[in-house]
Subunit: 422 residues, 2 copies
């Protein structure tokens, strides 16, 4: 592994590609174009960002992002390219906040660009030593839940917001009875006055504990503790004291330093929700790819990260979802450090129908959390049948057996395929 930080970008510019890349590199390190007396050759040699490669792509005839302050003459072509920049570790050390300001900071505003998106990021081994990474990750989550193989089958409590603690517990009771592995709060449901976190824990956890004593099954409930740090630590401790195994945070809303501090405090798995992700990623020529974004949260140490799902109800393509899940499952360092694995979480419109395609898309692994709403609750034979249908679909996928064929001996799967066929 190099001692330099490397980042790849998709860019679009009406200017000469080399010149535009020099502007990027200058803006994000010593500043190339207004050279000052103090910017010696030695300083530049040691600290300037380097343009490692420029791979020209297609041209387009209109800018992807408006360029309000410098309209280009008619007929201007906008060149796209994939470029790789690198920085010495000396510039920001292993600080993730400064790394973020370096690879995803002011450069988005540069008027030389009509498109700029961070695609990928690799960091030196020093980051692996400086950051804890996930405390539980894939193996730890399996141990906490006692589920050795297959994805964790989960759901999100709905309606998203508005249930009282008692009503939440009623939903949880049905889900436990149905044999679910994983339950999570919605990202809109944290500590609102109508359903305070502690009251919800008080209502839900006795059911979870009683269920474990009765069945031996340790259902994981991700309580949404997103908030200020004192609040998150207090709520983490409350969940832990009640026998819980997981807390959830909306990572974009809480931010890097807050999630990092929670990780250092935490004895529980941290479920990372990515609410707001569309703002960072929805335009293909702006923002950040999941592959780069997840590096920060894995180093900080969340154990699970949301990746949407195949055939979801949102605007994201299946290719993008697949790439995100694979990113979570790809080691950040070579040789791999087991502690840095993170479990991808599938959600949105998921039923038994997507199991086979998902299995194949992620490369034949099932170290996943698969959350389904309607795919469980709206199964014609009820919640338990919905949960079983998902397990059966994943068994079929792992066995390489066609789902319809597997359904002949697994009626819940057959019914689900019929009910939820696209």
């Amino acid at each position: 592994m190099s001692e330099r930080i490397e980042a790849s970008y998709l860019i679009e510019t009406p200017f000469d590609l080399e010149r535009a890349c020099d502007v990027m590199a200058g803006e994000q390190s010593c500043g190339t174009f207004t050279r000052l007396a103090a910017e010696t050759d030695e300083l530049r040699e040691q600290h300037a960002a380097r343009v490692e490669s420029i791979e020209p792509l297609e041209d387009v005839d209109s800018p992807s992002l408006p360029m309000p302050t410098r309209p280009q003459p008619p007929g201007t072509r906008y060149r796209r390219a994939r470029v790789r920049l690198s920085w010495p570790l000396a510039n920001c050390g292993t600080s993730l906040a400064t790394l973020m300001a370096t690879v995803a900071g002011n450069l988005y505003e540069l008027k030389e660009f009509s498109g700029l998106r961070l695609l990928d990021l690799s960091v030196p081994d020093a980051f692996a030593d400086a950051w804890p990474g996930p405390q539980f990750g894939i193996q730890g989550t399996r141990q906490l839940t006692g589920i050795d193989s297959g994805p964790l089958i989960g759901t999100i409590i709905k309606p998203s917001v508005g249930l009282s603690p008692t009503q939440t517990a009623d939903v949880v009771a049905q889900l436990l009875e149905g044999g679910i592995d994983f339950i999570k709060d919605d990202e809109l449901q944290a500590n609102g006055p109508h359903n305070p976190l502690e009251a919800r824990v008080d209502a839900v956890m006795p059911l979870v504990r009683e269920h474990e004593q009765r069945t031996g099954r340790k259902v994981m409930v991700a309580f949404n503790i997103s908030g200020d740090l004192d609040e998150m630590r207090r709520h983490h401790d409350y969940v832990a004291a009640a026998g819980g195994s997981c807390v959830m945070v909306a990572v974009n809303a809480v931010g890097l330093s807050g999630v990092s501090e929670l990780r250092r405090h935490s004895a529980l798995a941290i479920h990372g929700h990515r609410a707001g992700w569309g703002m960072l990623s929805r335009h293909p020529l702006l923002g950040i790819d999941f592959a780069a974004w997840q590096v920060f949260w894995r180093l900080v140490g969340v154990d699970h990260l949301h990746v949407n799902g195949l055939d979801n109800k949102f605007s994201e393509s299946n290719d993008s979802v697949t790439a995100s899940a694979r990113a979570c499952l790809t080691p950040l360092f070579q040789p791999p450090r087991p502690a840095h694995t993170v479990m991808p979480v599938f959600s949105s419109n998921q039923t038994a129908c997507q199991a086979d395609a998902t299995w194949r898309a992620v490369g034949g692994v099932d170290d996943l959390i698969v959350t389904a709403g309607g795919g469980i609750m709206a199964h014609p034979d009820g919640i338990a049948a919905g949960v079983r249908s998902l397990r059966q679909a994943w068994q079929a996928a792992a066995l390489g057996v066609d789902a319809a064929q597997y359904g002949r001996e697994h009626p819940e799967l057959a019914r689900a395929l019929e009910a939820f066929a696209p």
Copy 2:
């Protein structure tokens, strides 16, 4: 003030506007379109987001954001509208993290939209009671620096990254000698191994203290302490112990909970840098307007917020810069709470030339920090003349005197106008 949270959005959709707005409201509250048994009329009445108004704007013939999973037939029109949604305070209480997930969360990914941008946000008075707001703000920053009128004239230490602590101190010595009011680290310069924060404070602060003893002028230095919480608290304390008055954080990189925790710990002014802002705002049909974004950071309690500058080197228009600065200066609550004012920070390509236009753009106030690089360092008669030229330009603006005319009796201004004329 209403007891509801209100947010305005610019949307674009190929669907019926009312239907699309119902999808937004549903996704961000109880979920309207897949109504569950537990979603009673009472629950909806109390917790559903409400579409308060829909103001149709122009139609366009191609989508602003790609809609990969549902291509529309040729000839489809994309309707734009300004819409206002509201939520009961009961849903998220005064949690800023949950507010963020509510008003700027999953909705960006909805496939019903080819454009969605959060424009504005207003919150009930309960938020004013729950959050500290800026500790110093405009008046406190004036007190800390002893500058009663006119903008604080400042600069950013350059090269951005690569100077040693001693080299940084050499630059600071020149700036102090030149009569500057405010000096800040670049956002790329925090605690890298080549220039650790504590070594930089050790090198810089004796000069600042000596300068104060000699001249009575309390120059504010914003040391960039962005990082993990332990690190930020330790560095804050180090700056405070050395007699400093300000710390800087890259708010997007540190995040809401981290900045909030720093605010609760802090005895110093918090200078909020917005590195990464372009990612959130550069596309006009995606992301978030500054007016909405700044609500979060003001409540959390930063004292200064960057707003770019007129005729800047980036892609942002002067109208957008003006709107951002005005947002900082507009009370969040009625009646206004003085503690919630924040000082806008102008930067990027600033010289004496923009003073008059900036003064007029922000409505005839000078409660600002104006940072200039070349506008100070590259003044033909040196740094002191550069600083004086900016002060003179702002005096002329406040007096309503034409800058060129004022320059006849103020040679530094005259030379600046000549040197930096666009």
